[in-house]
């Protein structure tokens, strides 16, 4: 098959490309230029593009760089900034996957005559039965599993993607890279969002693009309990910076009112939530929706603990209510909740965004 491999310059996508070449496919590598500004982590600093290009050279495959900075800015960065102004905290990597990597890039790969688009994500696509639907599954290495950030994919996308390293642990990936003498074998994984530099951090990035407003911190009774420098940077459930209550116990953010510039805090009991509402418009399903009352396993962050839950439709509000078996820290508005099959917890069922 003709396969276009998205190469970030990291070891996972390097080995993904290598595996496809070994399997005899006609492979072409492409690195996306998504961000032209300050950045020190993967996805497109010039050094990362160079790494990807040199690995491609080592593998004997063509390499291209696609400039998608304009689309990335419009579809990922600008909404990310705007969401914070409204008190929401989206995961930009999820939005990049949704709108750029598995949308624009996927369409480009089809137009250019490629049969598949491959990435170095730790995830698996499988077809459980002959002629059956495709299933998106966790990668074999639980600690590195990236199914959460891919949980928006549906049958159409899954039919056209390949995740060659999904069946390998990270150690196996690195060992393979070392065996092939790939220059990225020992390269550390990028930890941060690609457009936010380590030094500036999320605060520094947003401060440059948003008006950040200080706010008051109050307890459940409305008594003054402190201040914050920027309400837009506070997330529900946050413990950092909230200090302790009169009872000596840690305080957590229970509510953020951006317009009133007020953060409400409470104890652990006050912040525990038994459910989260996902907006209907944000729901995506791998293979059709769950029925009301269905059991599922929820994951609310990239490497969060799976949580048993029940899924119900909320017709009035136009979405789904996920009821956790046990109370959880709140899921902040804008955060993605990935749902896995209760009977087959490695299989993604769908995903939605907390309203």
């Amino acid at each position: 098959m003709r396969v276009l491999v998205a190469m970030s310059g990291g070891v996972d996508s390097s080995v993904a490309a290598a595996l496809l070449v070994e399997q005899g496919h006609q492979v072409v590598g492409a690195t996306l230029k998504l961000w032209g500004g300050v950045s020190d982590s993967g996805c497109c600093s010039v050094a990362d593009v160079e790494d990807a290009r040199r690995v491609a050279q080592q593998l004997g495959i063509e390499h291209h760089v696609f400039n998608m900075t304009e689309d990335f800015d419009r579809k990922v960065v600008t909404p990310y900034v705007g969401a914070h102004a409204a008190g929401r905290t989206p995961n930009p990597c999820i939005e990049c996957n949704r709108t750029v990597k598995f949308d624009l890039l996927l369409h480009r790969s089809t137009r250019l005559g490629f049969d598949r688009l491959a990435t170095g994500h730790h995830a698996r696509v499988s077809s459980p039965a002959v002629g059956g639907s495709l299933s998106l599954r966790r990668g074999v290495d639980g600690a590195k599993d990236q199914s959460y950030v891919l949980s928006m994919l549906g049958q159409h996308e899954l039919a056209r993607v390949l995740f060659p390293v999904g069946e390998m642990t990270k150690d196996e990936v690195r060992a393979h890279a070392r065996r092939l003498g790939l220059r990225t074998a020992m390269k550390p994984d990028s930890q941060d969002v690609c457009f936010i530099g380590r030094v500036q951090g999320r605060e520094g990035f947003l401060a440059g693009r948003l008006d950040l407003h200080p706010g008051e911190v109050v307890d459940a009774d409305g008594n003054a309990a402190g201040t914050v420098d920027a309400v837009e940077l506070v997330t529900v459930g946050q413990r950092r910076g909230m200090g302790h209550g009169g009872d000596g116990k840690r305080r957590y953010v229970t509510h953020v009112d951006i317009a009133a510039r007020r953060v409400t805090v409470g104890g652990q009991d006050a912040v525990a939530r038994s459910s989260v509402f996902l907006s209907g418009a944000s729901m995506t399903w791998v293979d059709g929706p769950l029925r009301g009352g269905a059991r599922a396993v929820a994951q609310v962050s990239a490497h969060g603990r799976p949580i048993l839950c029940t899924v119900d439709a909320d017709e009035e509000r136009g979405g789904l209510v996920i009821r956790f078996d046990s109370a959880q820290r709140p899921v902040a508005p804008g955060q993605t909740v990935a749902l896995y099959d209760a009977d087959d917890p490695d299989a993604v069922v769908g995903a939605g965004i907390a309203a």
Binding site: K33, C44, V46, R53, F66, N67, T69, L112
Partner: protein, 388 residues
């Protein structure tokens, strides 16, 4: 990648002429000394270098003493812009630089750097065809001007600037200012001795003319006050230190000689092939937009088009897969295509600019190259076209 290559990217680089390779190799048949020494090998090197310098000077219709060898067109542009700016600053405490809106990044970025150092940099607008706006030039010129930079012909569109008009305006309105022209793209096809009359500095690059990468030249009139960019042994009459690249200079000289010999005939031949390509493409791709209007003077080898609904990145990948080599514009440090400031300055709509493609023919382009291109481009363009 296998299969035949159809190379229509001569504006990016040209293939090294066999005579040039031979001439450069022959330089090393005996020990080549350092031209700045005094013993026989050094004398030999010096003689070879000076002969090469004479050839370059003849190509430009100038004195040998005006020729400064550089590492290429980019260094020549940097020297012209930043060298005059620095000298002016030292002499008068200020510098004013005028540069056209369509200059090559070597000039454009040098001008920006000059601006960050305190130089007053003004951009000279161009019209829809990318030709410098004479009235705007006349309005902007003043006795405070240090340098006016207008390229001879544009690297993306091939559009030729009215250099004689620029020289005339500067002489009249800013007689102390220098005129610099980046002639890198024009060198294979225009008679620079004629075109460059009255111009103070001319930039050249060998690898655009069948010569080696790594050698270029800046011609500098004796009246120009220029600070060097490279300090050291004071070579090139204190204008550009560093041991001269004798073999490179020989390569450049040989290439320019060959250009001169065949220039008129090559111009006609290449223009005819280019026109055949243009007509064929327009017929097979009716929705193709020819970027430069008819009647504007363009270099014989350039054909710049816009394909609405086609992404040029995709077009380049798809054409490259079939061995057809063209260009989409300037790249950034990572190799990704950047939006064209030239097209933006010309007022080309962004929807069109996204589908911009440059075909650039050269002295060794054949009719078969054109036939092959016409057999591939329309099909590929149609397959990539998205509903607009």
């Amino acid at each position: 990648m296998s299969g035949p290559i159809t190379y229509l990217d001569h504006a990016a680089t040209t293939s090294l002429r066999p005579e040039v390779a031979a001439a450069m190799a022959s330089v090393h048949e005996r020990l080549l000394g350092n031209p700045t020494g005094s013993h026989p090998p050094a004398q030999r090197a010096r003689a070879i270098l000076e002969d090469a310098r004479d050839e370059v000077a003849a190509f430009l219709g100038r004195d040998s003493g005006e020729i400064v060898f550089t590492s290429g067109g980019t260094e020549a542009a940097n020297l012209a812009v930043l060298g005059t700016a620095e000298a002016a600053f030292r002499a008068r405490g200020e510098a004013v630089l005028l540069a056209s809106a369509v200059e090559h990044p070597a000039v454009r970025e040098s001008a920006k750097a000059a601006g960050r150092l305190g130089v007053d940099v003004r951009e000279l607008p161009v019209d829809r065809a990318g030709v410098i706006d004479r009235d705007a030039l006349d309005r902007t010129l003043s006795s405070r001007c240090t340098l006016v930079a207008v390229m001879t012909a544009n690297n993306e569109t091939g559009v030729v600037q009215p250099l004689a008009d620029v020289v005339e305006s500067v002489r009249r309105l800013a007689p102390d200012a220098y005129v610099f022209t980046d002639a890198v793209q024009a060198a294979p096809f225009l008679d620079l001795a004629e075109v460059g009359v009255g111009v103070d500095m001319v930039g050249l690059s060998a690898h655009k003319c069948g010569g080696p990468v790594g050698t270029g030249a800046l011609a500098v009139s004796s009246r120009v006050e220029l600070s060097p960019r490279l300090y050291g042994g004071g070579q090139e009459r204190e204008r550009r230190s560093g041991t001269p690249d004798v073999a490179g200079a020989v390569g450049m000289a040989t290439a320019l000689q060959l250009v001169t010999k065949d220039r008129a005939a090559a111009g006609v031949r290449v223009a005819e092939l280019r026109d055949r390509l243009a007509e064929g493409l327009q017929a097979a791709v009716p929705w193709l937009h020819r970027t430069v209007a008819a009647g504007v003077q363009v270099l014989p080898g350039h054909l710049h088009v816009c394909l609405p609904g086609v992404d040029r990145e995709e077009l380049l990948v798809a054409l490259g897969a079939e061995g057809v080599c063209v260009s989409g514009g300037s790249s950034c440090a990572s190799g990704a295509l950047e939006p064209s400031h030239v097209l933006a300055a010309m007022g080309v709509e962004p929807d069109l600019a996204v589908g911009a493609v440059r075909f650039s023919l050269g002295y060794d382009t054949t009719a078969e190259d054109i036939e092959r291109t016409l057999a591939v481009v329309p099909r590929v363009a149609a397959s990539l076209r998205r509903a607009v």
